[in-house]
């Protein structure tokens, strides 16, 4: 059972990690928590469902298209709801409240358009379960894990090896300095929201495909767990979000599996508190010293 639960934990952890990346990237650059990100994940899930349901597009076109639309929604949210406040010089608290507003708007929008009920996902991939030495693994589960890891490697390479990534890292160190170096920081910020939202969309589609469900308030629990994962790994750190996601998924699954399923969420947030007690900046977070 241990290996099986470990695989379950890695699967859900990979999904947390994908969502956590959106939180951590935005925080890294703007130092704000985008509380609407969980709902962007939900919208992404619905986009994948709708495109697969209403069009005859094969999934390798439909799902990237869903990612693109969700990315645009993410950019639009930043443009309409955060940028005006930011450029006004208001503090992060004002943006946080705006983010909560966006979250409420998206949830209610989804309930109005798609109804409050849980929707079954369109299963475009034939599900096959394999039994290897007493461990059940499905092709979709393998796909989820592999895809999460590939996307993380790609993102890591983009951030660390490309010019755009360098611009992102520069912006995250100091927006003003980056601007002085000739970096179009507004473009970098828009790109950050776009990439984060596209990854959330992938997570939404993966949850839909693997667990076969999507509903308007699904972003709440996944968003909260992913946010915890981002904090756990050290918010602002891209590898930290990945580590935090997997760790959170594995801890909650093993805790639920070996101690009690009723305390599943307690394990997830318990590990968060435990880590923060000893490493307040998270596992891979940089020590942050505020100079007075």
């Amino acid at each position: 059972m241990f290996v099986q639960q470990l695989i379950n934990g890695i699967t859900v952890g990979g999904i947390y990690a994908l969502i956590a990346l959106g939180y951590t990237m935005v925080y890294g650059i703007l130092k704000i928590v985008n509380f609407a990100h969980g709902d962007v994940f939900m919208i992404g899930g619905f986009m994948g469902l709708i495109l697969a349901q209403t069009t005859n597009l094969p999934i390798w076109i439909a799902y990237p298209l869903a990612m693109l639309i969700t990315a645009l929604i993410g950019v639009l949210i930043e443009r309409i709801c955060y940028r005006p406040i930011r450029l006004h010089g208001a503090d992060a608290l004002a943006i946080l409240i705006s983010a909560l507003g966006v979250s409420i708007f998206l949830e209610n929008f989804a309930q109005l358009v798609w109804g409050t009920e849980t929707h079954a996902y369109v299963q475009k991939i034939q599900r096959t379960a394999y039994n290897i030495a007493g461990i059940t693994l499905s092709n979709i589960q393998i796909g989820v894990i592999v895809l999460c890891i590939i996307l993380m490697i790609v993102l890591y390479l983009v951030v660390n090896k490309t010019k755009m990534g360098m611009a992102m890292r520069a912006t995250s160190q100091s927006i003003t300095s980056a601007q002085l170096m000739g970096i179009n920081t507004e473009k970098v910020i828009a790109l950050t929201f776009g990439v984060g939202s596209a990854l959330a969309c992938v997570a939404g589609i993966l949850v839909g495909t693997y667990y076969d469900a999507v509903y308007p308030l699904i972003g709440y629990s996944y968003g909260l767990k992913a946010f915890a994962a981002a904090i756990l790994g050290g918010i602002g750190s891209v590898p930290g979000a990945m580590l935090g996601g997997f760790l959170l998924g594995i801890v909650e699954t093993l805790g639920a599996g070996y101690i009690s399923t009723g305390y599943r969420d307690a394990f997830a947030f318990g590990i968060l508190i435990l880590v923060l007690l000893f490493r307040p900046s998270g596992l891979l977070g940089k020590k942050h010293v505020d100079k007075v």
Binding site: N8, A120, Y211, D212, G257
Partner: protein, 379 residues
């Protein structure tokens, strides 16, 4: 079934209490040519949809009685009060209803909190109250004049346990339940009753309402020796459990549940995966009972939609009061005694009798999902 207790409208409830204080003494008095039935149900607020169904059920029962010539030549009227699903509001409307001398009995309330709030008032006034929707344990102790046509979760859990262990022969039980009062209560009942019949609960796992990932829970069930899963929860999670079983090494395991999973949404969401699920239910359009089928037809003709569970419970509640009046007249104490002794009333939600607490005793239907539809079955 599950009941949400709303704590809203407290302020408006208090205001209404004061308003009633001013109006006290305005209640009608003296005997008249009509017989009145009180109806206290939430017509606004969170439970409004169920409350409206309850009103429809009661109005239909009364209309049918009037069309048949009334009782002793007298026509029957329904006095409708909106309790808003709020306990303080419920006390207000209960006070209004008991002051009307023409009222022979009350159908109400829906939410358990409201039924309990009203119960004291009805019992003090000596007027029969039949709830069509309150399944909480506490209603059993509410008083001699308080009855209900919905069963407690314990009754259904006991029946399900007998079906599962004695008739189907499952002895290693996995109980999966939602992590709240409702699910926990149901899990306790199922564990107690199945173990009393000699079975063993080999896994007892909780999940959160709206959870999507059941792999951890199902892996634990797979690692136990369970040969059946009993769900103490609602249809959404049941559908997801059924769909995720295959990925977690539980292909083909029997799932059983109570009437809380009886919903078309279970089949819509679950698709092929929910075929074969066995459940208990009291009201179903698949029932072969004649009264049930003629009720469904009459209701659909009247309102243009098929009746739900609560409309059916309310219809039975109203008919029980009308039956009492037809047999013993309008004396409130005589009505109470008649209903307390009522045996085998042929209602649309089953053959109904009451125990000493005023709780209904009736056998649920055994149902199974066959080819994407609920069907009644023998085993």
């Amino acid at each position: 079934m599950k009941k949400r207790i709303s704590r809203r409208f407290i302020v408006s409830g208090l205001t209404a209490v004061m308003a009633v204080g001013l109006l006290t003494g305005c209640g009608s008095s003296g005997k008249s040519d009509t017989i009145e039935i009180g109806l206290a149900t939430p017509l606004t607020g969170a439970s409004a949809q169920d409350g409206q169904a309850i009103e429809n059920g009661v109005e239909l029962a009364v209309k049918q009685a009037n069309d048949a010539g009334g009782i002793d030549g007298k026509q029957i009227e329904v006095v409708v009060e909106d309790d808003k699903g709020d306990a303080s509001e419920a006390a207000t409307v209960a006070n209004m209803l008991v002051q009307n001398d023409n009222i022979v009995g009350v159908v109400g309330h829906f939410n358990s909190s409201c039924t309990l709030a009203g119960a004291t008032i009805y019992n003090d006034a000596g007027i029969v109250q039949i709830s069509p929707g309150s399944s909480a344990e506490a209603v059993s102790e509410a008083g001699d004049y308080t009855f209900r046509t919905i069963t407690t979760d314990a009754v259904q859990g006991r029946y399900l346990a007998e079906w599962c262990v004695n008739d189907l022969g499952y002895h290693n039980i996995a109980v999966l339940y939602e992590n709240d009062d409702y699910g926990l209560g149901l899990a306790d009942v199922i564990q107690r009753e199945t173990e009393a019949l000699g079975a063993t609960v080999v896994a007892r796992e909780a999940y959160e309402v709206n959870q999507t990932d059941f792999s951890t829970v199902l892996t634990k069930v797979a690692a136990s020796d369970a040969d059946v899963m009993i769900i103490g929860g609602l249809y959404n999670e049941t559908a997801l459990i059924a769909k995720q079983m295959g990925d977690n090494g539980l292909e083909g395991m029997q799932i059983m549940g109570v009437d809380a999973i009886y919903s078309d949404a279970l089949i819509e969401l679950g698709g092929d995966a929910v075929n074969g699920i066995k459940l208990t239910a009291y009201f179903s359009d698949a029932s072969d009972s004649e009264v049930t089928q003629s009720f469904i037809k009459a209701y659909t003709d009247e309102y243009g939609e098929a009746p739900g569970t609560y409309a059916a419970y309310a219809y039975d509640a109203a008919n029980i009061i009308l039956d009492a009046v037809a047999n013993v007249g309008t004396d409130r104490a005589a009505i109470r005694d008649y209903i307390a002794d009522l045996k085998d009333f042929d209602g649309v939600t089953g053959i109904t009798s009451f125990d000493e607490n005023g709780d209904v005793i009736k056998e649920p239907l055994r149902m199974e999902i066959i080819n994407g539809a609920f069907e009644t079955v023998d085993m």
